[in-house]
């Protein structure tokens, strides 16, 4: 892989609310290299968006508390001054949001919005910046880019708006691109087009991408490495194949089991994870997944550390007390976790 871009270590984010302290992110660590896609997977309230927004400095506020470090090259992001962040945002880390209509200004032309971002960081003429904006819009597949640059966001369709967002994010060739559920609001055929664009970026090897999503299908399509988050903690992380073919955490099994697969006979009954996600204000003691976990036992009242439990895969970490052999036996019974059925042999 390419050079190391970003190193996040033991990131902690809490928000002080009237009802108490909410620990949104509790000890997230990962690295991002140039040319790779790291996916953060989780359901609502898992802390996946807060993690990436914190990297951009977007969760700062009087009631926010941070811990840990996030190093971009030789600069620290967590304690950085607002001024420093201004220089980094857009230029070195750019972000694509889920909902492009609320992240573009409705009263400015799309091209002008891109121009403004370019000129905020670089000393070039308006005309030159506009040329670059049009070129970027063309690159991400917006037809008739010159005319479309003069249009307002409401004149764009959802997919086109998301492309415009991507063009804007790419305008200063950032080394880190954060995509927070960029395709969730889009139709499936448009989602496929946008994913192709992001894959194209990876192929160019210019940037490293952090891709936040709840959709394991999208993850399988795009990611190199995966973090699975639940209740503010990473419960499992590893390479794409490790997570899909040798998942170690019961929550990952549940997620993999709940996904519908187009290429298989559907099960008579969908495997569902019982219960509700935890409240982060009063999370369950010990492992956060314990109340919903069919495999929980007495030791789960202690928080399992996130560590490598497989001698053959030192980079594959998980937070579960079960013995590895035990896990492999149980998850087979637990459902249709692509393994035996897919004919994949596990080492």
């Amino acid at each position: 892989m390419g050079e190391r871009l970003l190193e996040v270590e033991d990131l902690q984010v809490s928000f002080v609310t009237e009802e108490g302290v909410l620990r949104a992110v509790d000890g997230v660590s990962f690295t991002l290299d140039r040319g790779e896609v790291v996916a953060i997977v989780g359901e609502s309230g898992s802390g996946k968006s807060v993690t990436v927004m914190t990297l951009m400095g977007l969760t700062r506020g009087p009631n926010s508390r941070f811990g840990g470090t996030a190093r971009l090259g030789d600069r620290e992001l967590i304690g950085a001054s607002e001024q420093e962040l201004q220089r980094i945002r857009g230029k070195e880390i750019a972000m694509i949001f889920q909902d492009p209509i609320s992240s573009l200004s409705p009263v400015h032309r799309v091209g002008d919005q891109i121009v403004e971002q370019i000129r905020a960081h670089e000393d070039i003429s308006k005309a030159a910046a506009l040329d670059r904006a049009v070129e970027l819009m063309r690159r991400v597949g917006i037809p008739h880019a010159e005319q479309r640059a003069r249009a307002f966001p409401h004149e764009f369709s959802g997919g086109m708006r998301q492309r415009a967002m991507i063009a804007m994010a790419l305008s200063l060739s950032p080394s880190v691109l954060i995509a927070d559920e960029p395709t969730t609001a889009l139709d499936v055929t448009i989602q496929a087009q946008i994913l192709e664009e992001i894959k194209e970026l990876r192929a160019h090897g210019d940037a490293g991408v952090i891709f936040v999503t709840h959709d394991l299908g999208v993850v399988a399509d795009i990611a190199d490495r995966v973090l699975v988050m639940y209740g503010g903690r990473v419960v499992e992380q590893g390479t794409l194949d490790e997570i899909f073919y040798d998942p170690q955490h019961p929550y990952t099994w549940g997620l993999l089991g709940s996904v519908t697969r187009m290429d298989r006979e559907p099960p008579r009954r969908l495997p569902a994870i019982p219960g509700q996600p935890p409240s982060l204000l009063s999370p369950p003691e010990g492992c956060h997944f314990r109340p919903r976990c069919p495999h929980a036992f007495d030791r789960c009242i202690e928080v399992p550390p996130l560590e490598a439990r497989l001698p053959e895969a030192p980079g594959h970490l998980d937070r579960c007390w079960l013995e590895v052999a035990d896990k492999r036996a149980r998850r087979e019974v637990a459902g249709r976790i692509g393994l035996a059925a897919a004919g994949t042999v596990i080492a």
């Binding site: 359901e43 299908g217 993850v219 997620l255 187009m262 569902a272 509700q276």
Partner: protein, 383 residues
Amino acid sequence: MSDAAPSPNGGPLLEAEHLKLYFPVRKGVLVDRTIGHVHAVDDVTVRLQEGQTLGIVGESGCGKSTLARCLARLLEPTEGAVRFRGQDITHWGRRRLAPIRTEIQLVFQDPISSLNPRKRVGQIVGTPLRLHGMDRRAAERRVRELLERVGLNPEHVNRFPHEFSGGQRQRIGIARALAVDPRLIVLDEPVSALDVSIQAQVINLLDDLQDDFGLSYVFIAHDLSVVRHVSDWIGVMYLGKLVELSPAKELYVKPIHPYTEALLAAIPIPDPSENRARERIVVGGEPPNPIAPPSGCRFHTRCPRATDVCRQVEPPLVEYAGGHVAACHHPMSVDEQEVASVTYSPLSPLSAGRLMPNGKEAPAERAPGDAGARPAASGEPSR
């Protein structure tokens, strides 16, 4: 409450025939001029048998939700007919529809905006009961039963919607729909707003309720992954038209219309190595404007197989083996023999051409008055 007579001679519970709904596009400040129409639903014929589920799939703007609203008679169709148990309810007024309202219920996509935030759960679920004349005591008892039935704690009757999670709110919506003992529930993207693990719970609940109460469902979805688990028949819509209708299982292994194929191909498979091995056809472009839909086949602007005939002749729905119908001049996943033996489907829009994919012309139009006659073709139960 479901004491209504069963459908006459086992006919379908619900039928839509050549249903059209056009929304006028108006312009002008002083003088309102209609400058065009959005062809939201453009001549769709579907039917639903008692106890079955009809899935309707399509992307945003294809008219699936409008179709659902016409079927539930929240909207009045511009043309065509909606029949419930053989009764033509197309143009019935509010008062006349009242008894039918207890039989057809709706569940919406967004549980937060479809539940009144100022009302307690007990009131939300109980109101339909009270409206239909149940006394307070009995209604309260029934509300508790309903909450329990959909997997909520009956002690939570006094809570407000915001105190529940998304999945639980959707359960409240389902309990409210169930309150009046409906025969048919129109589900408009009921799980799209929920997390995956919760989606599975709600789908399983809907499945159980269908078995227990013999419900029929119209299930609207924006992609093909969820409807698969619940549907007996699945219809695919594109820009106001029904382009394919098939027994649910068959659609996934044998998509005939290229658009269905594109929808299937667009869904990523949650299996990295299979995903890498798979050759994906990414359909370019976006759905065209429904105010001025393209000529001929509406998909021809994006279709990799389109030829001149697609631009000129609107393909009729033709029937393949097993009641599988599709509207395409260049069908996929079928061999020559299958194409040779197709028949013209009476589900076809009236505006469709007579040219079938086997090169034959369908026999001439029946007498105009006969167009509404009940065709014996597709949509019949497969089991």
